[in-house]
């Protein structure tokens, strides 16, 4: 049985929300691991983690688009 399109998109929104929260959990863990870093190093590290998180979000949104489009439009 095919899932209703609106239900599927709602589920992907919930999935994206969980991923956003997970990415911040990941950020916290990395910051804890580098707890002893100070000054310019920690500032650059935070920016770097921020960039990594943005890349993860972009890839995840791309995967969501691929999945929903394949499921709803190609079948």
């Amino acid at each position: 049985m095919k899932i209703n399109s609106l239900v599927l998109i709602s589920l992907t929104i919930v999935g994206a929300w969980l991923l956003l929260l997970l990415s911040f959990f990941f950020m916290k863990q990395v910051l804890l691991l580098t707890d002893d870093a100070k000054g310019i190093t920690i500032e650059l590290l935070r920016d770097l983690i921020g960039i990594i998180i943005l890349i993860i979000w972009t890839l995840a949104f791309y995967a969501i688009r691929k999945f929903t489009a394949t499921y709803l439009l190609r079948s």
């Binding site: 998109i9 929104i13 919930v14 688009r65 929903t68």
Partner: protein, 321 residues
């Protein structure tokens, strides 16, 4: 907090926007500034652009709020509005509009109406000195184009924006962030008033000037409120729609170059175009299984906005309070 001044601000913004919108409907129609509503059988001519009513209503309501946040917010709205107005009159090419939309971020940057220590779930306040101003610069083109791209059906962009900023206003009230409260209330009242005339069946269209102003309003409020993550979650359908379109067509392109994502049937219901090269939009995905009317599609996307708002409120309760 002065509740009387907040109520006066709400009523001022609401009434000015509503009256000006009704006036603009007649004014624009008289001057033949109307476009056909493509999703209706009779193809009625609808006046546009009506977005100036939002700008005037919000600005007058905020006239007595004398702080740097209000000046930065209103300046951003003005810049986004005028970029959209030029697009309404003389269409921009593919990447020109998003590049120009960066200008709308400048008042926030130069007046320092932001804090580079956003609050993140799990992490708490974190200083992101280099990346944050860059994100502010990127946020305006992202959101002004996201609202512009979702402005395809009657009332959709206004409804989505009005729903999406609700969690930001709630957050400002909880955190007693007065600057955010006053900006949010003025903007929300103006959006509700405009929605009354823009909702299905539309009496007026906001135009690119109106839709870009709405995008600037969302991102401006997110920054001033310091509720970036809450705002991102509340606007996930907007982000999805914009990202899906851009990633499926490979960047910014003119409308005329694109294949229509929806096919309009004889009874004026719409169904997804199965052509693989057609842009992937939320409306196309929703109408992929059965034909849907414009009204059904609008309410489906508004429902997605409501789900996102609930998720952002859950995030607020769990991680922010």
């Amino acid at each position: 907090m002065n509740w009387v001044s907040l109520i006066i601000e709400f009523i001022t913004s609401f009434i000015i926007t509503l009256l000006l919108t009704i006036y603009l409907e007649k004014f624009l129609r008289k001057r033949n500034m109307s476009v056909p509503d493509a999703h209706k059988k009779e193809k009625p001519m609808i006046p546009r652009p009506g977005g100036i009513a939002l700008l005037v209503g919000t600005t007058i309501a905020l006239a007595f709020v004398n702080n740097v946040y209000a000046i930065a917010f209103i300046s951003s709205l003005f810049i986004a509005f005028f970029i959209g107005l030029v697009d309404d009159i003389k269409k921009f090419g593919g990447p020109e509009k998003p590049l120009l939309a960066i200008l709308a971020a400048l008042p926030i940057i130069f007046l320092k109406a932001y804090s580079s220590t956003p609050y993140l779930p799990y992490v708490g306040h974190v200083t992101i000195k280099i990346l944050y101003p860059l994100l502010v610069l990127a946020g305006f083109p992202i959101y002004t184009n996201a609202t512009n791209m979702i402005d395809i059906f009657n009332g959709l962009v206004t409804g989505t924006t009005a729903i999406s900023i609700l969690p930001l206003i709630v957050y400002d009230f909880i955190k007693q962030n007065y600057a955010g409260i006053y900006l949010g209330i003025a903007f929300e009242a103006s959006l509700i008033a405009f929605y009354i005339r823009h909702k299905y069946p539309s009496k007026i269209f906001p135009g690119d000037s109106g839709s870009m102003l709405m995008g600037a309003g969302i991102v401006g409020l997110m920054i001033v409120s310091g509720a970036e993550v809450i705002g991102i979650i509340a606007t996930l359908p907007l982000i999805f729609n914009g990202f899906f379109i851009l990633s499926s067509i490979g960047g910014f392109k003119e409308h005329s170059e694109l294949i229509r994502p929806l096919i309009i049937l004889n009874d004026y219901r719409m169904i997804a175009n199965k052509e693989p090269k057609a842009p992937i939009t939320l409306a196309r995905l929703i109408a992929s299984q059965k034909p849907m009317s414009e009204k059904q599609l609008v309410y489906s996307i508004l429902l997605l906005s409501l789900i996102s708002v609930i998720l952002s409120l859950i995030t607020m309760v769990v991680y922010y309070l």
